[in-house]
Symmetry: C2
Subunit: 587 residues, 2 copies
Amino acid sequence: MHKITQYLPILSWARTYNRDTATSDIVAAVIVTIMLIPQSLAYALLAGLPAEMGLYASILPLVAYAIFGTSRALSVGPVAVVSLMTVAAIGNLGLTDPAQIALAAITLAFLSGMILLAMGILRLGFLANFLSHPVIAGFITASGLLIAASQLKHIFGVEVHGHTLPQVIGDLWAHLGQTNGFTLALGTAAVAFLFWVRKGLKPLLLSKGLTPRMADVLTKAGPVAAVVATVLVTWAFGLNTQGVKIVGEVPMGLPPLSTPSFDLSLWNQLFLSALLISVIGFVESVSVAQTLAAKKRQRIDPDQELIGLGASNVAATVSGGYPVTGGFARSVVNFDAGAETPAAGAYTAIGIAFAALFLTPLLYFLPNATLAATIIVAVLSLVDFSILKKAWGYSRVDFSAVAATIVLTLGFGVETGVSAGVILSIALHLYKTSRPHVAEVGLVPGTQHFRNIHRHRVDTCPHMVTLRVDESLYFANARFLEDYVLNRVARDHDLHHVVLMFPAVSEVDMSALETLEELNTRLSEMGIAMHLTEVKGPVMDRLKRSHFLDELTGDVFLSQFDAWQKLGPGQQSNPAKGIKQEGVAAQ
Amino acid sequence: MHKITQYLPILSWARTYNRDTATSDIVAAVIVTIMLIPQSLAYALLAGLPAEMGLYASILPLVAYAIFGTSRALSVGPVAVVSLMTVAAIGNLGLTDPAQIALAAITLAFLSGMILLAMGILRLGFLANFLSHPVIAGFITASGLLIAASQLKHIFGVEVHGHTLPQVIGDLWAHLGQTNGFTLALGTAAVAFLFWVRKGLKPLLLSKGLTPRMADVLTKAGPVAAVVATVLVTWAFGLNTQGVKIVGEVPMGLPPLSTPSFDLSLWNQLFLSALLISVIGFVESVSVAQTLAAKKRQRIDPDQELIGLGASNVAATVSGGYPVTGGFARSVVNFDAGAETPAAGAYTAIGIAFAALFLTPLLYFLPNATLAATIIVAVLSLVDFSILKKAWGYSRVDFSAVAATIVLTLGFGVETGVSAGVILSIALHLYKTSRPHVAEVGLVPGTQHFRNIHRHRVDTCPHMVTLRVDESLYFANARFLEDYVLNRVARDHDLHHVVLMFPAVSEVDMSALETLEELNTRLSEMGIAMHLTEVKGPVMDRLKRSHFLDELTGDVFLSQFDAWQKLGPGQQSNPAKGIKQEGVAAQ
């Protein structure tokens, strides 16, 4: 029973579902639906797909998430970053036939769904942790900028190609002479109006005496108002005959039943993109879901989230959609509007289905410029370069990861940018741990405490040197320690004891063990005994399984103070005390 | 001046060069030359190249290393593993024209030389540390087995293709009916003779009253004896007309001046192989050099070794050779024979040049089977499966890295094997550190020491929980800690203080900082204060650069015992003491 509710979270919340919860959910669903209709059309346009695919991706996937998802506020559907990654992935294929492009998008949703489900079943949610916060922040900022730039072509009414900022800006600049005045006027007006709605409308409505909730609903309806107004203007003045690009015929009706391509070479070409889309989509979705769950002291289960999002993408596949995930802005709206359970998502699906059934003829005269304006205003809120300043102040390593992610995303596209960000974070982390901090320590007078000789006034002893190793020892840093110790010992001809203090060593792998053995042998050849102190339980257990402790020329002390008492200044008369004499080679 | 001797180590040892050192070096060079003549021909055969390229690769590269290398005993030239990697790399190109194949090998040496030089100049020697000992051991063992298997075709006198163990064995089995009896007889006799030389000859010679040095020289001459005997037999009985494959015409004279191909698409195809060859060659060479240097209390400089090996490969390029590195067996022989300086390598080069000038006509009747026998006997000493047992006993993680390296090298070839080994070691390491050990600790009665409550009898307090974090915090493990703390806190409704003990935390990156901030906020929402103790200097410096310490609801204590005195059982009357009240949200 525990198992079933774990994999079908709907069973746990549906039992307590009542009229109050339903009312809250329905109100939230209405608000989200109003917001989602123009957004889903706009993101389909961004993804280079027919507008209706945006609607299709906003129906069944929401129902699937309502059944399998664990977040009570997450709103699933097409989102900006994943749409951008979709157009980049499909662009790599070099397709021109719209039917082929749509099939590729459906196949991408299918692969992404399968990857997410597999990761969920294998409980690999922790893999998302390898995307560091700075890399995600840099990636989202750069993507937002890239998306906004890519939409300028619709505002100017010109043809622009390319997936990188220099390409997009260069191409736009080259075609600026072909700007369509009507399109530019409509687009600029829409952008200005939407910015005003975002910043100025709510205070105005509140000052007119509206209730906050009503003011909120009207604010969310801003994009719908822009759509209605520009559709009317375009229709009334026949602007579509004046070069203003419009959405045109959108098929009326529920999503068609569709299947992905089973062409293995296509799978092969799309696999890496699908993997990136899955991981990025998952990370974006989980971070929103966690933030919102925390506000109500709820917890979400990342591994089950993988299953929920996987199911949503499979649902997108069978209903003619494209890759979906939990959207940031939309989920916050859903939460603020009072959604109590995932059922709100299912009600939203009903709203979008209604739109697909009855409203599509009204979208015929909708200018692409309006949709572009919606996207630009939405994504510019994602752009936040303050992460650069924050990272610079905190750590150069984190800064270089953010900066590289931003530069590479803008300069070489989303897939290169995020892959490079992940690889760079891991490489920098490995580089850091490959040169562990080693501190030479001495006794803080009057205590049993040992601290860094360069930071504190401490007692030391000329015959022994104590080195505190501040990192687990593994293949990448073992040789560094060996070099460090041998260089330290080479400076000092009076030494009889080297004490390695291991309070921070949680792991000694086989490479490190062999290096310690070698270090022991080399020191022993110089007539120096090697001792260990403060070795943790699990590390000691591990060392006991090897011959290392038999070969060690010195002792293992429980605490550094024990070592000091046995080997330190009080014992100067017999500097070799503690060395097992048989282990020391003749000098 | 320091700079110049650093990059030209010859300047430091040449100043003290005298007649005694020269004598030692010349004796060592004679022994190594005797060993190297058949070996260099054999490895060229293994690499799928004309026999003379083996000789060419054993002349100028040795001179280059004598100038730029830091090891006094390393003997550079063609080696088994790099020859195997060369044939695999060139096999990928699908060439059939011998001149094209030779050009590809020369180009591979050039790329490898450039990569090594670049790594040396950028001081990237530490990158070799990312090849863990178990991965190297597994790779060498599997390569030895693969090389031995690949040479069986010469012993049986049949055609066999393939770069993996199943391919080679399967192909050999399929062609066994075409075995040439004469070849098999010669080959088997040579293998048996060489094994006997290795195991039985030296004791025999010593028992006959020869000096150990003389016995050594004669033992090293075993392969030469096998060469002479089989050449004579083949010539006398005209076995080459009976299907015994022979080396045939070997051009007489010094190496030709050659240049690599500058075809960028070829560079592109060879680059990854060249990188793997460089890194593997470097690791093999440096580990031999270090072992030998340690025996004489000398140190080698890994970064300068990159330059030495890079120069050797460039020298191989311009003199018609193929990739070279420091060989294990040969360097040990050089060392044991008394080589004192890298000049021994230069004298060896003179010996091989002499062979190339005058001895090649004598090699006409040399059967390939003899060379194969030389290789088989040499590489079987590399095969050592005991690493599997050792790794299994020590750690499952190390075991899986070795086992995967061996299986993948045998099953999918050298390049896949070693790449997978490296990636797997890093992945396993990251996986381990992504789930850091966290121990709940209590006070050891009568001391100021805190230990794991599950391993020791300790005092605890119902209002505070102390968690010792045993790993640096970074993006991959920060969320794990957050989940751990929140799950621990959820079990216990009486808590007022969570103390995180950081003695093993050497690093808190920006992702981890954000996670700590979030954890602080969540705990504060539950009315629980978060404290830190035993924070290291560098970590504290870092935290001070952020707002974290201002927002922290609790305090930072210098030692865990201070926290215990302030928050522990003695303070039960005021459980919230130590919480900055302003930081705690109303419940």
